[in-house]
């Protein structure tokens, strides 16, 4: 089955006086898993529901596999969907739940039984046909929900915070399993989540949304390492944001004079276009990209706290002129600095992203 791309063209939606989605364009390539990531109220769920057909857009059109489906009801769009709380039918058995989609297509009984067995094998719950929903654990319910969604070979799979109801340990395992299944089947998928770790782990591309707009879209590594705006840099991971003025260093590469340390030039690089020389800029630096040195040209700081986080150490650095601490992560089993120590913070140009002026 050739994977179908999904396209939302100029979709907007208003609820009463609130503009939930400003005209938005989105294309999900055939076979990819795209994650819509953002805080509550950003419009990601509305986008999903418009694609599913439960909300009608005020403007724009929806296309699945090249076919326009905007005027089709949800049951005619050829989708599969996994809901946040699984929405398994409590008055039916596992087998009946999974077979539901087949029943709606009037597949005959014996074919249904065979297909249900196939799906249960796929999610590694063979033999569960006659169990009742309340007998299942959370993880099992999740897999049944997935089996049910996939049984009709839908063109597109929709996932609404699919792992939200699971506890942490289960969640990680399910992230890999879900992703592996999606890739194996090659099914175009759109996932909505507010958990950035989940988005980054599972998706081919992630679209960060805020207040009805897509702020940035791209491969997780790109969006993480090169955020366009303050909002993206702070929503995806932790970021240290510095204000300063753009300059250039001795060989002409971009550098920044930070407001808190105007006597030095620190390396930085833009995501896209370089602002003009002398412009006020904001720079985002990830904590794990900051190195501790004794170089006199580095940013002077004093260690104010050392926190053990299991897989890494987090250091809070007090920098003169700045109220909030600068965070530095260092992956090691022993701390590399003590509280009260004076250190220098440095980074390379690639690690300091000059953020676009466009809104946070």
């Amino acid at each position: 089955m050739t994977p179908s791309p999904v396209e939302l063209v100029q979709i907007s939606k208003r609820f009463g006086t609130a503009q939930a989605l400003s005209p938005l364009d989105l294309r999900v390539e055939g076979g990819e898993l795209l994650a819509l990531l953002g805080p509550s109220g950003c419009g990601k769920t509305t986008t999903l529901r418009i694609l599913a057909g439960f909300e009608t857009p005020d403007t724009g059109s929806v296309h699945i596999g090249g076919r326009e489906v905007t005027d089709l009801p949800p049951n005619r769009r050829g989708l599969g969907m996994v809901f946040q709380n699984y929405s398994l039918f409590p008055h039916m058995t596992v087998g009946e739940n999974i077979a539901f989609g087949l029943k709606m297509r009037r597949m005959n009984r014996s074919d249904q039984v065979a297909r249900v067995r196939e799906m249960l094998d796929l999610v590694r719950l063979a033999g569960y046909e006659d169990r009742h929903i309340h007998q299942l654990s959370g993880g099992q319910q999740q897999r049944i929900a997935l089996a049910r969604a996939l049984v009709t070979n839908p063109a597109v799979l929709l996932l609404d915070e699919p792992l939200g109801a699971l506890d942490k340990n289960l969640r990680e395992g399910m992230q890999f399993e879900l992703r592996a299944l999606q890739q194996r089947l090659g099914i175009t998928s759109l996932m909505v989540t507010h958990d950035q770790e989940e988005a980054v782990t599972m998706s081919d591309r992630v679209a960060v949304m805020s207040q009805g707009h897509i702020v940035q879209i791209g491969a997780p590594q790109d969006v993480y390492a090169r955020p366009l705006t303050r909002f993206v840099s702070e929503f995806l991971g932790t970021a240290n944001i510095f204000e300063g003025v753009l300059g250039a260093d001795s060989d002409g590469s971009p550098a920044v004079r930070l407001d808190i340390a105007p006597d030095r030039l620190l390396p930085a690089a833009p995501v896209r276009t370089l602002p003009r020389h002398g412009a006020k800029v904001a720079v985002a630096v990830r904590p794990e990209r900051i190195r501790l040195t004794h170089d006199r040209q580095a940013l002077a700081a004093q260690v104010s706290a050392v926190i053990f986080r299991g897989s890494h150490y987090a250091y809070e650095m007090a920098v003169r002129g700045r109220a909030e601490p600068v965070f530095v992560y260092h992956q090691d089993h022993t701390p590399v600095a003590q509280v009260g120590e004076n250190v220098g913070l440095s980074w390379d140009a690639e690690s300091a992203v000059i953020l676009s002026e466009a809104a946070a």
Binding site: E55, P74, I214, L228
Partner: protein
């Protein structure tokens, strides 16, 4: 590596306004139409019809307000209006005072007895009003159980007929209506955290004080609901007054029944019915206001 663009190139088509796009709704609002129409035809219209009939004084050569005037100026009818109000108020207060402790016990102390008490509250609703009223007749009449007991205990020397005394009506009404009060209060009490009272006691209040200052005010919604319910139901009762009390307690519904049965003065009965209706509507409005405050809507 270049970062991806955050917007797609426009496809050349401007945003298309969805002029006639209907939202996806599972159950269209029009399905409520049969119920609404049915009630409009057989609930609203009859009452409106009756409302107009009550102004039919011209049929007997008087002003349209004739029957209402009669109702509100004639001493006898004023007395009945007063009696209706009095009976409703007394029964409501009695149900509240007698029923609150039961609700409190059900919610706070009952544990396994809860089911039994609930059963005892629901069972009367499975029996007809006539059965229950008959039961009081059997208990309180001259040849009834109470009389026989008192006689055999030597407390009285002649059989006493309580069934024909007004007190029997009140007893009968309280008997029928107190389950509604208890259930209304219990429903609200269930939602009040016991620990609130306990914190008050920890801060020095007496048990009674904590109850009066904390629990009682929080349960007022249930109290109000129960009171309105009992008040309206008492307003509409007439079987109890018919069978008990020896005809000494005459309220508006009983009068309507009598007007219909005996005098056939149906226009007058319509007017009386309207007065009852207005009283009930006022209570309904009060009730809706209270329930909205609690946010019962899902």
């Amino acid at each position: 590596m270049m970062a991806s663009d955050s917007t797609l190139p426009a496809k050349g088509a401007a945003p298309r306004a969805a002029a006639r796009r209907k939202p996806y709704v599972l159950i269209r609002p029009v399905w409520a139409l049969p119920a609404v129409l049915f009630l409009a035809m057989f609930f609203v219209l009859p009452l409106v019809h009756n409302f107009l009939r009550g102004f039919g004084g011209e049929a007997v050569g008087q002003s349209p307000w004739f029957y209402y005037a009669k109702l509100f100026t004639d001493i006898y009818y004023l007395g009945i209006l007063g009696e209706t109000l009095r009976v409703s108020l007394v029964v409501t207060v009695a149900c509240l005072v007698l029923g609150y402790p039961v609700a409190y016990f059900m919610v706070r102390h009952a544990g396994k007895w809860n089911a039994l008490i609930l059963f005892c509250l629901i069972t009367p609703l499975l029996t007809s009003v006539i059965m229950r009223t008959f039961g009081w007749q059997v208990l309180l009449s001259r040849t009834g159980l109470l009389s026989q007991w008192l006689l055999s205990l030597g407390l009285i020397d002649r059989p006493v007929d309580l069934a024909r005394q007004p007190i029997a009506v009140y007893i009968g009404l309280v008997h029928v209506l107190i389950p509604f009060m208890v259930l209304s209060i219990a429903a609200v009490l269930r939602g009040i955290d016991e620990r609130l009272e306990e914190s008050a006691r920890a801060l020095g209040a007496t048990k009674l004080g904590a109850f009066l200052r904390i629990t009682l005010p929080l349960s007022l919604d249930g109290v109000a609901t129960g009171c309105i319910l009992v008040f309206v139901l008492t307003n509409g009762s007439f079987v109890t007054m018919l069978l008990l009390g020896g005809g000494r307690v005459v309220t508006l519904p009983l009068l309507i029944y009598q007007q219909f049965n005996l005098t056939q003065d149906t226009l007058f009965a319509s007017a009386m019915g309207n007065v009852l209706l207005v009283a009930a509507l006022i209570c309904l409005v009060l009730q809706v206001r209270f329930i909205r405050r609690k946010g019962v809507k899902a």
